[in-house]
Every structure is written in C-alpha cells, then in structure tokens.
C-alpha cells in the first residue's frame, strides 16, 4: 500500500477512536462506546506498526533518528497517486 493511503487509513481509525474518547469524557459509563474505542485503538496500533516498518517512525521516539528526519513533514505537499 502506498504511504498516503496507509496514512489516510491510520487517520480514519485514529479519528474514530479519538471521537469516542471525547464522548467518553462526558459519558464515562457507556461501555459499548468504550469497547468500540478499544477496537479502533487496536486497529490503530496495528496500522502504525505496519506504517513504521515500511516508512519509518511516526513519533520521535519510535525509531531511527536519520529516518525520522528523512521522511516528509506533515505540512509538505506530497504526491499521493
């Protein structure tokens, strides 16, 4: 899978988990939402591992420093096709 597509998939899963996390701040006893959030967080962890194996670290502490600096920065325009 290309980098943009995988990054987009990570963002989708991360967004779903984050939205549920905010909801749970004000609805902490909703167990269904909590279970769904855990499911998305597991998917997120799996996709991040897949991404980092192929494209280098996504967080500053998660890999090789030279790779961290070499991969594109979020504000840079990248070709996604």
């Amino acid at each position: 899978m290309n980098r943009c597509k995988l990054l987009r998939e990570i963002s989708e899963v991360q967004f779903a988990a984050w939205e549920l996390h905010l909801y749970l701040d004000t609805h902490p006893s909703d167990l269904r939402a909590a279970a769904l959030m855990n499911e998305y967080e597991r998917k997120y962890d799996m996709l991040v591992r897949k991404y980092e194996e192929q494209f280098g670290p996504l967080t500053a502490g998660s890999g090789d420093s030279a790779e961290w600096l070499a991969s594109p920065w979020p504000w840079e325009v990248v070709r996604c096709d």
Partner: protein, 203 residues
C-alpha cells in the same frame, strides 16, 4: 508532557498556491477565534477545574486544538509557496509579505498580531465553560465565513472538517456544563465557585 506525531489530524494537499486565501485563512491561526486561542484557552483553564471528567475534557480538546493549529499553519504554508513578486502584489499579500516574507506568523486576517486578550481563563467553572461554548460558535462562524470566500476543493475539504470539530466540541462543552451544574446547588448555581470556595457543592 506532549509527544509529537509526524502527521496531520486530517490530510491537506493544496495543489494551487493562493495568497489571497492564505491571508483570510490565517485568521484561524492567530486571530481572535483561531486555533491558537482555542488551545491556550483550554490548556490554561485546566488548572482551576475541580472536576476530573472536565479536566480530561479540557486537556483532550486543548490538545486537539494544537493539531488544528498545525493544520491551519500547513494551509497557510501551502497556499503561499513559490510566489512571484507579481503574484504577491496582485493578490494583496504584499502587506503581510513585507514583514514576514512567506513565514507563518500568528496574526488575524486584518494583520493584528495574536494577543492573550482574545482568551479568558477566569478561574470559575461556569464562567469558563460559557467562554468555551461561545468560543466554539465564534470559530464555527469564522469557518462559515471562510467557506463563503473560497472555491478551491483542496481548501474547502479540510476547512469543512475543522468547522465540524467546532460543533462537536460545542456539544461536549454543553455536556460539561450539565455535569458541573449537577454537582452544584440547583436553587443557586452561583452560591459559590467550586474552583475557589471550600465545600462548595449540592446543599
């Protein structure tokens, strides 16, 4: 502490630079109802918040706003790259360019630099939550106004995402206000300030 993730919350890839649009959108970077104001407002209000769920909410929304600050900075950067002096003059970007070149600086669309006077941290739960509810609606209005002034789908898509987040945050802050008032005397929510007064709660 904070850790950095080398990605945006929502993807932004603007193919065509447009300095006129950048000069409008920059208001959500350093303007009165922008993302910097939002992040500093919520992350500063946390300290006097007495309720755990709401400490969590202020932290989470404050952190998300930092991600939005990065998204707006990215849009301004991408909209102002590879400009010629002719394009700068013709678009009206010259008044910004003279002081900042194509550097991203926190100002409102009018050119007024960011100031802490835009935000409030009042040390009173009910007051701060109302400040936040108003702030989310003001940001939503600003995004609606941006959408009235731009027509590039590469700009419209992420701006719509950010507009929608204001609505979700407004909903969460509304629930936060209910959680706070449920802990207070229903005959007089203002009898005391639980951020400051001792033993302030339901009578």
């Amino acid at each position: 502490m904070f850790t950095y993730e080398k990605k945006l919350q929502y993807p932004i890839n603007i193919k065509n630079p447009d300095p006129r649009a950048a000069q409008i959108i920059i208001s959500q970077y350093g303007g009165p109802d922008g993302e910097m104001s939002a992040a500093l407002r919520y992350l500063s209000q946390r300290y006097s918040m007495p309720y755990s769920a709401l400490k969590g909410l202020l932290t989470d929304i404050g952190v998300e706003e930092l991600g939005h600050f990065e998204m707006i900075g990215t849009m301004v950067y991408q909209l102002t790259r590879n400009l010629t002096p002719e394009q700068i003059k013709a678009s009206g970007f010259d008044t910004y360019f003279v002081d900042h070149t194509a550097g991203v600086y926190p100002v409102a669309a009018s050119g007024t630099p960011w100031t802490a006077a835009y935000i409030q941290s009042k040390g009173d739960v009910i007051t701060d939550l109302h400040e936040n509810l108003a702030a989310e609606q003001k940001a939503r209005t600003t995004y609606d106004n941006i959408l009235r002034l731009v027509d590039d789908p590469d700009i419209i898509d992420p701006i719509r995402f950010l507009r929608q987040r204001e609505i979700v945050h407004y909903q969460r802050f509304g629930e936060a206000l209910r959680i706070a008032t449920d802990k207070l005397n229903s005959k007089n929510f203002y009898a005391c300030n639980p951020s400051f007064d001792k033993n302030c709660g339901k009578k």
